[in-house]
Assembly symmetry: C2
Homo-oligomer: 402 residues x 2
């Protein structure tokens, strides 16, 4: 019997029928080819991974405890470590408010599943983390957008305007520190106002904080969660402070929400403690995490400074950027007539250098056309100098053609 040819488009749920891998994705896979200097992805530096410590922890955990390989409830010893980490971020919480995940992205996905109805509303910025846009897409949601100021972050007055007009999103999505893609950290005043709006209107904030430990000033601002334990649901990650392939993160949420999170995680992946959670706990038992975080800040700060210095030397005088106080990106705004999507093609072909065009982050496709996001955490200082120089040449050529 011959089987009729399957047409996936006909089978799929409505939202998924138009789902496509983006042209950007294809271009980025080109960016991983050898010889390309890539400022594109938000990767940590592999040479800073604690591989010896993790290898030892992994061998120890697997060989000394058979139960470590079994289905097990969420691993409490790791929650205790997370409570200590959160204290370093200026957040008071208890183990009963910690929910362990397979990374911050999973936390985002589970919270959205709990909070968002199909066709419901979400409040986010015009330029937003694409992984968050992917999370909400299956709900075919209404998206209420606010702009982002490159120096002070999310336009919280615009948030207030929407709420006062009666808009009631399921939640507000925010990255207060080291914004992705705009690299900005929200001003203290805006933090306070945003949290007070959440409280007044009873709208929760999902605070995505993958970069919060990577700050470069003496006095980092406290995350939104430090201002309110009820209305801010915080997402943390081990990807940037230990290693991404461990796939481990956490949510800090009101205790009442944790059983519900447990149930949606059960449906996602059984909610059994993965081996990596035990490996991380064993590693943290025997390591000075404060020392490690200080080392990461020191090393990434060197790259950050180098990038900003070289931008100043090599980029046209009309280009604008802010020195990021947290995170792993620099956001560069070029002349209005520069189209960075076209520029990327040329940069890859002629100078073998990659970045992400700002427009790739635009929720409605309108913003960021003359902008680029540059990552510095995964590029060595000499390569930063080399790659930014190459980009500068492309820009010179582009502007001489105008």
């Amino acid at each position: 019997m011959t089987s009729p040819k399957l047409d996936p488009e006909l089978l799929l749920a409505r939202w998924a029928r138009t789902l496509q891998s983006s042209a950007l994705q294809d271009m980025l896979s080109a960016a991983t080819k050898p010889g390309i200097v890539s400022f594109a992805l938000g990767l940590p530096a592999p040479e800073l991974f604690p591989s010896a410590g993790l290898a030892e922890a992994a061998a120890h955990v697997v060989s000394t405890d058979l139960q470590a390989l079994q289905y097990n409830p969420p691993f409490n010893a790791l929650k205790t470590h997370v409570v200590k980490l959160m204290a370093l971020r200026g957040v008071k919480c208890t183990e009963r408010q910690i929910f362990l995940t397979a990374g911050a992205q999973q936390g985002l996905n589970l919270l959205t599943r709990l909070l968002l109805d199909p066709g419901g509303g979400v409040l986010l910025e015009e330029l937003a983390y694409p992984g968050f846009q992917q999370v909400i897409e299956p709900y075919l949601p209404e998206k209420w957008l606010v702009p982002t100021d490159p120096q002070t972050g999310m336009d919280v007055v615009a948030v207030e305007r929407l709420l006062s007009r009666g808009f009631r999103p399921a939640f507000i999505y925010a990255i207060a520190d080291g914004h992705n893609p705009m690299a900005v950290s929200m001003s203290l005043k805006k933090r306070e106002l945003l949290v007070s709006l959440a409280r007044s209107y009873s709208i929760p904030i999902i605070e995505d904080d993958p970069y919060g430990f990577l700050y470069y000033s003496d006095k980092p601002l406290p995350p939104l969660r430090s201002f309110d334990e009820n209305w801010v649901f915080y997402l943390g990650s081990f990807s940037k402070i230990l290693a991404p392939s461990l796939r481990a993160g956490w949510v800090v949420a009101p205790e009442a929400l944790l059983p519900k999170l447990g149930t949606v995680k059960e449906a996602s992946d059984i909610n059994a403690a993965p081996l990596s959670h035990r490996i991380i706990a064993a590693y943290l038992d025997s390591c000075d995490i404060e020392q490690r975080l200080a080392m990461l800040r020191r090393e990434y700060d060197k790259r950050r400074r180098r990038m900003v210095d070289v931008l100043r030397e090599q980029f046209p005088a009309s280009a604008r950027w802010e020195e990021p106080s947290t995170g792993i990106f620099v956001w560069v705004e070029l002349d209005n007539n520069v189209n960075t999507s076209e520029l990327l093609r040329e940069a890859l072909e002629k100078e073998r250098v990659a970045f992400i065009p700002g427009n790739a982050f635009s929720v409605n496709g309108e913003q960021g056309k003359n902008c680029m996001r540059l990552n510095f955490s995964n590029v060595s200082e000499p390569l930063i100098e080399d790659g930014i120089g190459r980009l500068g040449r492309i820009l010179d050529r582009a502007s001489s053609l105008v």
Copy 2:
């Protein structure tokens, strides 16, 4: 400023408002207390985990390759191992049809997200794996139910009747081998008919196969996927053949579906290769998996035989069960007047022995009230003898009270 008390019920998406951890869950956490003989959960035997091999593989992978800790695309070397495993199951497929997951449960969740619209229809059995019921719950789906025969499996004629009347589910959910909870394996005739229905009506089947490698007959039947590569989406798992906390599994699906699965997994957990995928590949590189599978079948078969023997000796003559040819469960049907949910309470309190009452698997709450699911894979032979004896005493007492 005092924060208004958050009432999670008010915030949550509609489907999640009534979400509760079940009374069963609470009882089961009682079942994990020391001194309890538990036939309740579907756990593999920890003493059969390949801990030495996995410890070595883990230490090797982490300490020799920095990139193993980085964000990486899905790990192709593991796909090659999966193709070989599928050949052992009688399924021909290529790496391009293999999608790697964080376990079969994640595969189930991702496929459902791709296929099911909110309020859409699903065809499943009256007694079904609760983890699947959890997956579809957020869609508030229509559930079309068919019965299951304890000797031949899913009532495929009832499936045909529904489809011929015009019911068009997004997909059919099936466990052809070692059914959970009913322990039955579908007859060859039913397999052929079910797959031909899927083809004729263009309705995909999700074949959940966590136990398929654990068969106890010389000639196991081929899985549904072996009859059709277009209309059967197969879910495999390393949890029962290696170890659950690795959180690793796979989907075998038409190549056209894989980019879409990649996109929904990206939204779930970034779809970066987790460390465990590399550890498993390294372990499989250096191990004879056929030998390991034969060892598991041999050991679990001893427990299975022992359970069936002791049931014959210790359970009332009116109790009925089939010897399972695959999997890790025995399904026992008792007199109609026995309520196994009440029995469980007594069994835990008086005899310190646990099982899952059949009704816990019932989709509409009607079936299985006089049934119990007994797991044998996670109980040693002496404890099987002891625990089934205790259960027999409870049943004797219960029937003497009737």
